[in-house]
Structures are given as C-alpha cells and as structure tokens.
C-alpha cells in the first residue's frame, strides 16, 4: 500500500536518503539553513558503514593524486572542533574529538621512503603549506614508547586526529531529532521520481514528497542515482575491523592501523578486499591484521579480541567522493564517499550550504561522476 505523507506540517523541504554519518551530517547542515528535513533510513540490520568505521579524522596522505581531495579533507579537519562543540552544546554528548596529530607506522625502509616521497610531493602541491614529519624509530618512541623493534619509523601529521564514531552517530541523531528532524525507518528506498516541482520517494512501506533529495545512502546510491539522472559507480570494499578489550590507556595518538578509544578499547584495522556484499570476516585477513598490529606494538599480543567484523567501504573507481547536482532532475544531489567521519564537518558545512542554496555547482567539479565516463 502506498501512503502519502500529506499535510504541509509534515511535508519536508528535503529528504535525505540514508541515516548514517554522511546523511546526518548533511541533514544537520540543511537544518542550519532553515530547511525542514526528513531522513529515510533502513532498518536495524542494514549495511552500516557508520557503525563499522575506525573513527579517524585523517589528513595525511589523503588526496595524493587529487589536490582538491586533499583540500577538502584538511578543510574538514579544521572545521571539526567547531562542529564537535556545536554537537556538545546541543546534545551534551562529547564525541571525544582529539586532534593532536596522528602517526602512520612503517614496517620497512621502502614503505617509509614511499610515504616520505608522497608527502613531500603533496607539500609541494600545497605550496609548502602541508605540515608533516618523518620519524625514525628513536624519534617515534618519543611519541609512543611502546613501538616495537620491527618498526622502521613513521610519518606524523599534526593535523590528524580521531573521534568516537559511535558517540558521533548518536550525537548527530539526537541533534537532528531535537531540531525537529524526522527519521523514518521505512525500509529500503525502491523508487525515486519527480512530479512537477516535487520529488516522490517510495520505500518498501511508505511514500514521501519533498522539494529536494539528497542521496546519502552509501552503497544504496548505486541503484538510486540513475533514477534521478545521476551516476554512482560504487563497489563495496571490505575493511575488517578488530575490536579488543578495554585496557589501561597507553596509546596517546591515533595511528593508521591501531587506535585506542577514550574508554580503553583498542581497534585494529584495516584491509582492502573486494568481496561483494559479504560482511563476514576471514581468518587469514584477521590474522594478518593482528600480526601486523603486534609488530607495531608487541604488547598487543597479550590483549584479547572481543569482536571483529567486515564493514563495507563505499568505493568509487578512483576512491574519491562524488558530489554532484542532477542536471535532469533539479533538486537531486548525490553525496557519497568512504570517509564519512573525516569529511563530516565538510558535509555539515560547505556541502550542506551548497545543497540548501540549490546551486548547480562548479567548484566541486573535480568530484563530478562524469570523471568516470569513458
């Protein structure tokens, strides 16, 4: 049965498809612009990239082949403290944002040399405004005395940081609802169409009407985008995350592979596997992640693994986001990326402003899906 949500008080200006970190960040930004926003979300067991990520607000090395991506990542990192403060003042939830720098451990000379080359190139590209340091093991141990003997060194960026992604998801949700937003758990979105000035969003159970739609459904965007004249060539890429027991704090900086949360939990990641939609874990990948982490931090061999899962990253062919407004269905926007945490403040700020002002943008041209056209 199709049921229209009618009545002007219930009719949102914008429907955001997807209630993960990306969708919620954009939705809050739209609310800041005075719009009435509804989020259409899947049920309890949807493919949840937001519940499976690592919580890094990470800058170093991002966008080595696309300067625009490096720029938005750094911009987002700079916008994060204000966004975190806003979430705290509105919800009382501290998302545990910490930006005192991050380390990328290298286990071979080659790896360290490659990173140094890459970061030097990025520094040049940014006209020198790209802070980083290359540390040998001795220097690294000034930051983290627990670094193991097999570690050759690390690269350090003062702009890196991390936050608690679960608290973030909760704070975004609470804030959105407090500001009058509605989250509809009405199943998968099946059909999008435009009738005159309005969009119609049909899910398994319900149907909604609005003036604008934002596609932030993660992997779901692939099916939805073509219905409103957009293109989202996305494939799932499994990143396995290993969660260990709480231990007394020892790791004061996030690293690319290991981080400790405020409550003491140790998280280990990550791998890149193309596995379709299977969110399971394979023994070999888990064992490899564990082995690498214990080379970096030998004391981790005494820790217990509590939970592991494969979260599906949302990857475009070149790994960069797609931000695009539809030409054929004006008012439809596509927002898709695999770094929803790092880019959260960017989505809440500039991206939401861009959508709220209904611009057919040009500055974001680097992120158009047309780059994938042959």
């Amino acid at each position: 049965m199709t049921q229209f949500s009618t009545g002007s008080s219930h009719r949102p200006d914008v429907c955001v498809l997807g209630g993960g970190i990306v969708g919620l960040s954009v939705a809050l930004g739209l609310q800041r612009n005075g719009l009435i926003v509804s989020i259409i979300d899947e049920g309890d067991t949807g493919l949840r990239a937001s519940r499976g990520n690592f919580g890094l607000v990470w800058v170093q090395g991002k966008g080595d082949t696309l300067a625009d991506y490096a720029q938005i990542s750094r911009l987002s990192a700079k916008l994060w403290p204000q966004f975190a403060q806003e979430l705290f003042s509105k919800t009382g939830i501290n998302i545990e944002l910490q930006q005192k720098g991050g380390l990328f451990f290298c286990l071979s000379d080659d790896e360290l040399e490659q990173r140094k080359t890459m970061l030097t190139m990025m520094q040049k590209e940014a006209n020198g405004d790209y802070p980083f340091e290359v540390l040998d093991l001795q220097q690294l141990r000034n930051f983290i005395p627990e670094a193991g003997p097999e570690v050759v060194g690390a690269t350090y960026s003062p702009e890196d940081g991390h936050l608690n992604p679960l608290f973030l998801l909760r704070a975004l949700t609470e804030c959105f609802i407090k500001q009058g937003g509605k989250i509809h758990h009405s199943g998968k979105v099946c059909k999008l169409s435009k009738h005159g000035q309005s969009f119609k969003v049909e899910t398994e159970k319900e149907s909604y009407q609005c003036d604008q739609i934002v596609l932030a459904a993660g992997l779901g965007n692939k099916e939805l985008a073509p219905q409103v004249g957009l293109n989202a060539p996305l494939t799932p890429n499994r990143g396995q995350v290993l969660i260990c027991e709480r231990v007394k704090p020892f790791l004061n900086y996030p690293t690319g592979h290991v981080r400790q949360t405020n409550e003491g939990t140790i998280q280990l990641g990550d791998s890149k596997e193309d596995v379709g939609f299977d969110t399971g874990t394979s023994t070999q990948v888990m064992a490899t992640i564990a082995a690498r982490a214990s080379k970096m931090f030998p004391l981790l061999k005494n820790i217990r693994l509590i939970r592991a899962w494969g979260a599906l990253r949302i990857m475009t062919p070149d790994g960069y986001p797609i931000y695009q407004a539809s030409q054929t269905h004006q008012g439809a926007y596509l927002v898709t990326c695999h770094s929803g945490v790092t880019l959260g403040a960017f989505h809440h700020g500039p991206i939401a402003d861009w959508i709220a002002n209904d611009k057919q943008d040009f500055e974001l041209e680097a992120f158009h899906a047309k780059r994938f056209a042959i």
Partner: protein, 113 residues
C-alpha cells in the same frame, strides 16, 4: 585479602590437593577445582572491579557465560577464573579495572630471563 564468608567444602573424593596463592594467601584446594571455585572457597569477594564505575563483582554463572570472574592469574590479567583449572603454585589476584598491557609486558620480560 579474602574478605567474605568462604563457601563450605563437603566431603569429597578428591585425594590430590594443590596449593595456590590468592592475594598472596596460601590455600589448599582439590586438584580438579577451577580458579573460580578456589576464589569462592577462599572467600575472595569481590574478585574484580569494573573498568567503568569501579563497581565490585564476583563469580556469577560459573560456566563461562558472564565474564564476571575475571581475575589476574600468574600475571595474566582478565583471565576467566571459571574456565581455568587450578595448578600447584598458581598466583591469583583481584582484577582491578582494565588490564595494564605495559605491566604484562614487563612481567613477561622478567619471566624470559
């Protein structure tokens, strides 16, 4: 330091008894006991404090389900006492909040020498 009323031991068939040290106090228990049973027989309640609120806990289910009986056994923190068989000379102490991996590492280094 045991601080609660100990559980009572009835007449048993066990003829081999071992000595283990609970909070440095020697106690004899039958060889087939689990560490959790030894803790109860010594009256070491509570046997751990939680990492969140420091609230006091003790063995609860005795069958490996609840993880309330986590203690430090021979230096190994967060060991499940109800799933560990006693060994002669074993040293058991309370688990205070979360394990300290650095301490474990030091202990192990000492052990290696």
């Amino acid at each position: 330091m045991p601080n609660a009323l100990p559980f009572n031991r009835l007449e048993t068939n066990s003829d081999t008894w071992v000595t283990l040290y609970i909070e440095d106090q020697a106690i004899q228990v039958p060889a087939g006991d689990t560490v959790a049973a030894a803790i109860l027989s010594a009256g070491l309640l509570p046997s751990r404090t939680t990492s969140i609120s420091s609230s006091q806990r003790a063995p609860y289910c005795l069958m490996g389900v609840c993880f309330e009986c986590l203690v430090t056994i021979d230096g190994k923190e967060n060991s499940q006492a109800c799933m560990t068989q006693v060994q002669d000379g074993m040293r058991v102490s309370k688990q205070i909040q979360s394990p300290d991996l650095n301490a474990a590492d030091t202990r192990e280094a000492k052990h290696d020498k």
